[in-house]
């Protein structure tokens, strides 16, 4: 099941020209700087914008083509707006009931109760929206969007208006959405980091054009895309919790390229987690170092190298089939004799757990 979207608009200072096929499962992220057209694309998918020559097919049903245009209220979507948009004339409960009342009973697959439970907002039900904190409002808005049993959930920077602490509070809820409810999500964000934890599929937009679209673990490390050349370029690695060392408070995570050690509280063995390894934290050696403080050392093969200005290079490595990025000086690259195919050891000074 896929989503096929084609929109072409040119409005003077703004243009959008996309031709996309997206999976209708998991979390797809539309990422790009502000003004790149990601919100407009999301609105076009929701039917809030009507671009006459557009085409949109979701699963088996055509939502827009030359002849048809389903109005927003006829589309089986849920939409979470950036500034939330709770109805101020209704209580939290009234907000939640607004949508579900309008969905025929046989189409209700998400129970309101479940949504309330999932987002932890039961205690807020009698409150007025104005009395909620930013994070609480956002959770109510997400539950409200879920209450209509959407076949597709659209989220426009749901965390942009929320302070960093609250982000940590809401992210787990968003993650649990597609795990628990199996609702595909399209998630708009300006920050690749925010989506690194969530996204299964990534679409990079710039100036109304698609720069890249692909499985998220792969897209971050593609040297033909701008994101791998940014200062904070990083690889995202998915791994499974294998064990915990009580003594040193270290979690061990298995992935196809080896084992990762990450400090922190014990995690559930068998859980699937993601880690972020910044390119600048990865150094390379030709031999396996034994007398070092670095815990995470992986054998890897050089896949490709590109220059970053005069003094630095970005090296793309493969640990088995898992890609990794390393940002080192050009001098080191020359002295190590790095070239595609060469076997090296990648030492990761720091690894951040994303979930």
């Amino acid at each position: 099941m896929t989503i096929s979207a084609r929109f072409r608009v040119n409005r003077g200072d703004f243009s959008l020209d996309v031709d996309l096929d997206l999976p209708l499962t998991g979390v797809t992220s539309l990422v790009g700087p502000s003004g790149c057209g990601k919100t407009t694309l999301l609105r076009a998918i929701a039917g809030l914008e009507h671009f006459p020559d557009g085409y949109l097919k979701v699963g088996d049903s055509i939502w827009q083509d030359g002849q048809h245009f389903l109005l927003p209220h006829q589309r089986p979507i849920g939409y979470v707006f950036q500034e939330v948009g709770l109805f101020v004339h209704l209580s939290v409960q009234g907000n939640l009931e607004y949508g579900i009342k309008r969905v025929p009973e046989h189409e209700r697959r998400v129970s309101l109760d479940h949504a309330i439970e999932l987002l932890g907002i039961r205690h807020l039900l009698p409150r007025a929206p104005d009395t909620l904190s930013g994070g609480e409002r956002q959770r109510v808005a997400i539950a409200r969007a879920l209450s209509v049993s959407p076949r597709l959930l659209l989220m426009d920077e749901p965390l942009a208006a929320v302070d960093p602490d609250r982000k940590q509070e809401i992210l787990p809820y968003i993650e649990s959405l597609h795990h628990e409810l199996a609702i595909p999500v399209i998630y708009v964000s300006h920050s690749p980091d925010e989506v690194a934890r969530l996204a299964d599929h990534l679409v990079f937009l710039e100036a109304g054009h698609i720069v890249a679209s692909g499985p998220s673990l792969e897209v971050f490390t593609r040297l033909d895309l701008p994101v791998a050349h940014k200062n904070d370029a990083a690889a995202i690695v998915e791994a499974v919790v294998a064990g915990y060392d009580q003594n040193y408070h270290l979690n061990y995570l298995d992935f196809t390229g080896g084992q990762i050690a990450v400090a922190g509280k014990a995690m559930q063995v068998g859980d699937r987690v993601r880690v972020r390894i910044a390119a600048r934290d990865v150094s390379l050696t030709l031999e396996h170092q034994s007398n070092t403080s670095i815990l995470n050392i992986f054998p890897a093969t050089v896949d490709a190298i590109t220059d970053e200005g005069q003094s630095q290079v970005t090296v793309r490595l493969l640990m088995g089939d898992v890609p990794l990025l390393s940002r080192i000086t050009r001098k080191s690259a020359v002295e190590l004799g790095l070239e595609p195919g060469k076997v090296v050891y990648a030492q990761a000074k720091s690894i951040a757990l994303l979930s």
Partner: protein
């Protein structure tokens, strides 16, 4: 009894006129204000200017043209005559028509402002929650525009209470038919019955003041609630 029978009749006519005028303006003005708040029509400003005209026009001018329109020789009055009806000048119905024009900006402008203030977003949210356009209007736009409706009703009502020039031009001064309070006051003053004029004037002053206090208090409460 401080009110004479004639004064009570005038009061009744005045209240009936103001109530009816406000009701008609709310019914006609709501769709118009909704449309004006949302359209991108480039000539909207022309319509806005027409709606605002009664604010600046001397009531006698408005009344004069309405008299021409509604009188037996006017296009509307003539049409009614030829259909076997009565011309509307110097009738209560004519008075209602005149008042509707006269108080139009006081109802339409607050409604238009209230609808504009809602913005696009709550309606879009409602659309993504499966509400059809009509559904959105009744369940989102109307409740959110409530302070605008209160302002519009009270201003429309109060402004019609104080009507004088238009009434005099197209309604005349027929007791029991078109004589309203403001004209009754004028009559009392003309007849040097200052005590009667006082009673009516003070009553009108108090009533108007109470209504305006209500508007501002309600709007203040609404703003406080939603800020």
């Amino acid at each position: 009894m401080i009110f004479s029978d004639a004064d009570l009749t005038a009061l009744g006519i005045t209240l009936k006129l103001a109530g009816l005028t406000t009701l008609i303006l709310l019914l006609l003005g709501t769709p118009l204000a909704w449309w004006m708040a949302r359209t991108r029509w480039r000539f909207k400003f022309l319509l806005e200017a027409v709606v605002a005209l009664p604010l600046v026009l001397p009531p006698t001018v408005l009344g004069f043209y309405l008299l021409l329109m509604l009188g037996p020789n006017g296009p509307l009055g003539g049409l009614l005559l030829s259909l076997g009806g009565q011309p509307l000048a110097f009738t209560f119905t004519g008075l209602v028509i005149g008042s509707v024009f006269y108080s139009m900006p006081f109802v339409i402008q607050p409604l238009q402002d209230a609808f504009s203030a809602i913005g696009q977003r709550p309606l879009e949210v409602a659309a993504t929650l499966r509400a059809s356009p009509l559904d959105r209007f009744f369940t989102v736009a109307l409740p959110l525009a409530r302070p605008g409706f209160i302002t519009a009703s009270v201003l429309g009502f109060a402004h019609t209470l104080g009507e004088f020039g238009v009434v005099l031009m197209i309604g005349g001064n027929i007791p029991g038919e078109t004589q309203v309070l403001s004209i009754a006051i004028y009559d009392h003053v003309e007849g040097l019955e200052y005590a009667n004029a006082h009673i009516l004037s003070a009553g009108l002053l108090l009533l108007s003041f109470i209504m305006l206090i209500t508007v501002y208090a309600v709007n203040r409460r609404f703003r406080l609630l939603h800020s």
